[in-house]
Amino acid sequence: MALLEVSGLTTDIRLSRSVVHALSDVSFTVDAGETVGLVGESGCGKTMTAMSIERLLPPGGHITGGHVRFDGRDLVALPERSMQAIRGGEIGMIFQDRMTSLNPVQLIGEQVAEPLVLHRGMTRARAREPVLEMLRLVGIPHPEQRMDSYPHQLSGGQRQRVMIAMALICRPKLLIADEPTTALDVTVQKQILELVDRLRAELGMAVILITHDLGVIAGRADRVVVMYAGTVAETAATQTLFAEPRHRYTEALFEALPERAAGTGEKLYSIPGLPPDLIEAPHACPFAPRCRFAVDRCRTQLPVLESAGDGDVTHRFACFVPRTEPLPSPEEIVAARPAAQAEASSDSREWVAPTRFIPDDGVPLLSLDRLVKDFPVTRGGLLRRTVGAVSAVAGATLQIARGQTVGLVGESGCGKTTLGRLVVGLELPTDGRILFRGRPLAHRHRRDLREDRRNVQFMFQDAYASLDPRMRVRAILREPLEIQHVGTARDRDRRVDELLEDVGLPRRAAERYPHEFSGGQRQRIGLARALALQPALIVADEPVSALDVSIQAQVLNLMKQLQRERELTYLFISHDLSVVRYLSDIIAVMYLGKVVEIGPAAEVYAAAQHHYTRGLIDAIPIADPAAERAKAKLGVSGELPSAMDPPSGCRFRTRCPMAQEICAQVEPVLRVGGGSDQDAAGTMPDVGVGVGVGGGAGAGGAVPHMVACHFPLVTGTFAAAAAAAASGPAPTGRPRGMGPVHTTGRGERDGR
């Protein structure tokens, strides 16, 4: 018998004037010892399902139908006292917002002991031992000291571990993890997910993993439930779902993933429209208005879950026009269109010229020369003493050629946002130079400064915060033109209309305020504003991080299209490697203020040479269950060191599996092939890079693949290893002679 059986669960939330039908007829089961993934875009009802199971509904919320059978008992009908015993005692929950889920004025030890005190009747003193054991189990170093600290003294990853400890301390039978790793660094995310998996095996419990990340699901879940607009669209075993989805929504999601089109330059499929409002109870398929394949029946009848009739008994879906063939795997897509990337770059483009015509003379558009930015840390109120400096960017050297897209990747705290802000002029560099076509960007003189602004523009991460909430869109878009005294008032108005059209927004959007738009639309307005001055270079700081994947696809398509039309150059900053890979010609990886690897996108991705890049690629989940399961369990250990006191020599050495003594003494320089020869070939400008004409694919050697490591990886991934196995000696062929060759630990995987 299943541990948890949800059947026909319907939840309503009563607002002052309307009722929101949060869940409609949700059904799924969870067996003991398995992980069920609950997946869907924001607003689909995943958190509401978890809350309904635990009966922790928001004010006005009621379960109006269905049953939740847990271990034989129906939770919906249970009195509150019994429900309290179950919450925490038999069902543990990890909440989404870890910042506010720990009491800031209570010690960690007290908080972790609280479930024991409540459910097992222990005193604080008796609970101390089990708490220590639990903290050790979740991997918190020095638990005896940590027990007596406050939440603010722990890092994000540690706080999440404490929350896991709290949820598991009573050895519950079921753990509900609601987005347990959002907003965590990708390497820490991997550690936390490993931990949950390990604990599941040790404690023999079932896990409901709620997430929006298909990659996490691919790696960790045994079965998946896909939700849309408060209903279950499809449920299946993971392998089956990723190979043969039936519901059109699931299919659309897979097609919108950047990695399915990565490296091909293809347009992503973006689901048009927006999810429904949930004010009316669904009387037809909720996805019908946005579905490419919808027929009349879809718009008039409500589909029910029916069995797929394939090998997987648990595969059920609710669709009248299901997909019948399996999905093509990413390799098949790539294989079918090998030259698409080169094609895209050699398109003939009619383009709207940047403000100042950029001749095709090989001078790099943007050149960063040993850029350094330190933020002083001060103590004291009245008389401020500088006690140290946060080294945000430490000697970054980078070149961007006209028409290219350079993707800057790294985790939070690596300095990529600071680098972007330095380029645009929001911060002044402590040292080093920024050259725009050979001329340093002015930071001092007002008139030159204003003119320079027309060449480089910025796209902010948080579209909501970057648009003045009190200005209408017309005023927002007109502002850069007013500041730069471009054209007459009528010209400006006309330009505003043109811009709106370029980014795909209706004309009437000009009269609206920012709050009336959705996230994706606001991001388009931000892009339109960046385009208003016709810059040559746009620095985009995480423009799609906060968007759902279908909206993300729209914005990425738009950016790519505009680049083709207008000969734009992008510096694309993101922590999301798949998005970066989709859009970029060149990838640069940053760690703690240093550029550790740079090269053509496909090469960096397929044959990463720096251990950190390798770790990042390993840690980031991909939507392919087979690859996920077979990945190295290593990832990157430890946590980011403080930027105030970075490690000497190579900054990554504290977390690197290959670190040797030399790594602590000598800082590696960025050069082709890495290594620690101290010859003059180290500095980038001398190595004659960045002279690519017309941008495009880097395979032609526009930017050589460079790495800053004493012992770089020789063989990178499956592909390289397989190629090596098939064709003989190591593909790079460069004699190393120092340090062992890092094996990828992938086990028997070949033919990939």
């Binding site: 002052s16 429904p276 929001l426």
Partner: protein, 322 residues
Amino acid sequence: MTTQLGGPPPVEPAGGMDAAVGAFAAPADSLPAPGTLEGRPKSLFRLGFEVFVQNRLAIVGLVVVALAILFCFVGPLIYPTDQVTVDLTSANLPPGSGHPLGTDGSGYDVVGRLMVGGQTSLIVGLAAAAIATVVGTVWGAIAGFFGGVVDGIMMRIVDAILAIPILFLLLFLVTIVRPSLPVMIFVIGLTAWLVPARLVRGESLTLRVREYVQAVRVMGGSSWRSVTRHIMPNVIGTVIVNATFQVADAILLVAYLGYLGLGISPPATDWGAMLSNGTQYVFLNYWWLIYPAGFAIIIVVVAVNLVGDGLRDSVEVRLQRR
């Protein structure tokens, strides 16, 4: 390589779900879902206005204030009384024929006295609050935006003056200068601008690091533009709310000074002075000299506070629109 369906919890939802979970009851369902751009565009003023009118208490407050203003300024035209000639033969008459609330010690009709007193109280209250708000806002915006030494000096001046007890400062000032209406306005305004200054400076500091202010720099705009076009409009909401409370405070301050006998000189009066005169006769039970003036102060001050609360809600709601 993340295959996320959505990034970290999005700032706003694509559908109506999270808006509901956020438990923002009343206005959440009065707007269409974001992104659909339905309906006619509504200005921010109109949105705020709609929320304001849903707040019953605020409407009550507004009505009371309107009535009070009408009473004090239009009243004497409808119910004229002699507020200048002293008539000791009709001093301290209880409410009766000809005098709905009786007369006071100088023979003036109490209702007429209330009107005259109200004029003083309201004029001083509104004008002093207006001056205080304008001066304080400009001061605070400059200090907050420029920061550093400029901010330090300006705020230390504010702190220094704030450290002096307001009432003593006022007492000191009115004993030096003979109080008349403009002097009182000036004196009260002089002390009241400190609070808006601090408030606006705080808001200014918060807004300075907002991305839309930074975007102005990216576009090549000057600091002046950031302050006038972006920071000031976004601060206005808080400033207006504060101004309403300033009015209430100013009316009270006038009353305090009047009560202490340091207010405006007779035959002009204000409610505080009326109260002060009335307390002489407490043991004689001449209640009509005390209660009317007292009630007038309380009712108007409470009404102004209610309006201020309503404004605060409507301003915040506009910003919460996702």
